[in-house]
Amino acid sequence: MFKALMKVRLASLLNMFMRGSKNGKGKASKGKIIGFALLYLYVLVVFGIMFGGMFATVAVPFHEQGVSWLYFALYSILSLALMVFGSTAIAKTQIFDAKDNDLLLSMPIPPSYILASRMSLLVILNFVYQLTVLIPAAVVWALMIGFSFVGLISFILLTLGLLLFSTALALLLGWVIALVSRKSGKKTLITMIFSLGFLAVYMYVCMSAQNYIGLLAQSGESLASAMKAFAPLYWLGNAISGGNVLHLILSIAILVVPFVIAMVILSKTFNKIVSQSQSIARVKEKRASFESRSPESALLRRDTARLFSSASYLLNSSVGIVMAVIAAVMMIIKRDTFSVMLTADMPIGKSLLATMLIFGTAFLIGMIPLTAASISIEGKTLWILKSLPIKTSKILWSKLKLNIIACLPAGLAMWLAINICFYVNIAFTFYSFIIILSYIFLTAGIGLTENLRHPILDWSDEAMAVKSGLSVLFTMLINMALAIAPMVAVMVLSMLDLWVTLAVWFVILAILNVILYSWLMTRGAKKFMEL
């Protein structure tokens, strides 16, 4: 029975990432699976290099200062943060808000089996996240210092323990979010606040780690004495670096017991959780409005309502906006620092720096993949739009418009900040404006095109439509490439003429926009009706 449940879970997981393109229903081809595997490998390598660099900086100094345990404490903190951040939202949807709970509970399956199968999925996902820290940490230590036999066994056991502990933490946080959002009746807002909070904390930790990693290496001893006060971290690190068996046993107990407790509590209360998840708060009656609007305005309002009804959709699309606005504000606040850097340290000119920042803005705009899920998110309600007497091009244009409107404040904020802090001349101000605008249109178009090519309409959890699948992935990759390619081109070709390079790039963007929008309004519209 458990095997059958696991099979279904794994099938849904694989289906989520590797489904075929036709109507989102077909099977993935072998080539696509290989492509996807290579892509994951690429992500693993990128993260590996990032974390590897960090570990390589601190491994030898920590070892020489006699605080090797701190290296593994750092590994534990980083992997734990990554796993908890990565899986809390999934824990919430998979355990507390899962749509097939009723179906499974109606069958003679013990709740503990249902729960165990869901937890196993979480553990697998967490392991994927953990690998990105685990591999560089282990490789760097093995190459630069070397594991003892007991240390290696401890490392493996404690890595498994961390996996279980992070799952328990993700469950706890997922439960808190689900509970608070249900009680408040503002599910989207609460989930958004929690998620953005997580993101802010995680980014702060990562950025601080990058900034202070050198300092960490130098002052390992003093840091170690401060962190020693938190005994479990010391036990965990010392079990691996010092091969201390007592510390190993204590650490395993600390990591595994919360997971066991979580399993027991959830098994006992699973039925209650399921029944609570279905109770929907009735809203206070408001006076009904019967105002009429144009079809275009009605479509845009509906698309906006859809965006704000889904925390995962909103969050996935708003990270780029938030980051762009923060970057713009920071740029203006730290304006003087930049000026000093420019005159003192920077070997490159102001115009080149401003150009690079414009492409940096394009990169952030590319992280707002609203259209990439805008058709998938319709799911089973797609029949409504298809049955209405309105041109398909207008339906698609409404989705594009929402993306463009969402990107505009972010793009304009960055454009203003760049031109205030690094004013080149009026021509550059104009130039940078039309390039950013072109990017906004282009990324919106790319997202919609990709979603028409790879829609997921038969989802049971809307996070599937928003976060996974080829559409969002391809959109993000293409957008990134479109931001990075001109950066490289400008770096290489700026010696010739920066302005010519920029002009050529603008022409390329304009041509791409014309081709894309022509396709969307003709063949794209036809494809939409065939979904």
Partner: protein
């Protein structure tokens, strides 16, 4: 009002609708019956412009759905078998959205919304999110949204599923009223008693082919529709129309 001429639609090698020809006149309630997977939904979706068909034509009030789908859609209303509506909107917001697309004026939409919502017993729930509705309430809301632009032709796929007896009765009354005012209704159902009592004409589809069609009297003769349906279900494929 609705003319289906030699409609054929295949999914790969499987022919879901095979040379279907049906004519539905103004003022008629036309029932469409058949076993599960017989091809009813394929025909219905083709008539609404939701599905591209391979051969044949569908005319709504003389206009080809292939050539001018928008003009056709303005005249019809479609009610699917499963009311998957926008759960993130409230009932009234959903109805407003549909009314905006069809260009229904403020006064008319208010009047129709109130009238139908009162009749179907969900007037007090229109301000609530659709996600809090039961299956039957969603079905009622879908019925109101189908009627809000006063369509000439209503195409419905299993409209009585999920409705309580009172609402089902009211829907039947509404259907008759629409036809009396010159409209037409084409709907699929598994409930043969409903078809027998309500329909002026009926068509029976089996494995993608129409095996019988005509007025209720022509089809059932002295027996009941159930007897005819069961008898036809026994006929092997390829035996042609009855």
């Amino acid at each position: 009002m609705l003319r289906i001429e030699h409609l054929t639609k295949a999914y790969g090698k499987k022919i879901a609708a095979n040379d279907i020809t049906l004519h539905i006149q103004k003022g008629e309630i036309y029932g469409f019956i058949g076993h599960n997977g017989a091809g009813k939904t394929t025909v219905i979706k083709s008539c609404c412009g939701l599905l591209n068909f391979d051969e044949g034509e569908v005319y709504i009030d003389g206009v080809s759905i292939k050539k001018d789908p928008l003009a056709c859609k303005r005249e019809i209303a479609y009610l699917p078998d499963n009311p998957d509506l926008y759960e993130y909107l409230t009932g009234v917001k959903y109805l407003n959205f549909i009314a905006d697309i069809y260009g229904v004026s403020k006064d008319l939409r208010k009047q129709r919304m109130n009238e139908y919502a009162e009749m179907l017993g969900i007037a007090g729930d229109l301000g609530q999110p659709i996600s809090s509705y039961s299956h039957g309430m969603k079905q009622k809301l879908a019925v109101i949204s189908a009627l809000i632009h006063d369509p000439k032709l209503i195409i419905m796929d299993e409209p009585f599923v999920g409705l309580d007896p009172v609402a089902a009765h009211q829907l039947k009354e509404l259907m008759r009223d629409i036809c009396n005012r010159g409209g037409a209704i084409f709907f699929s159902t598994h409930v043969l008693e409903v078809a027998e009592k309500l329909c002026d004409k009926v068509a029976i589809i089996k494995s993608g082919k129409i095996v019988a069609n005509g007025t209720m009297e022509e089809i059932k003769g002295d027996g009941s529709l159930e007897e005819v349906f069961l008898e036809l279900a026994e006929i092997k494929e390829g035996d042609g129309n009855v």
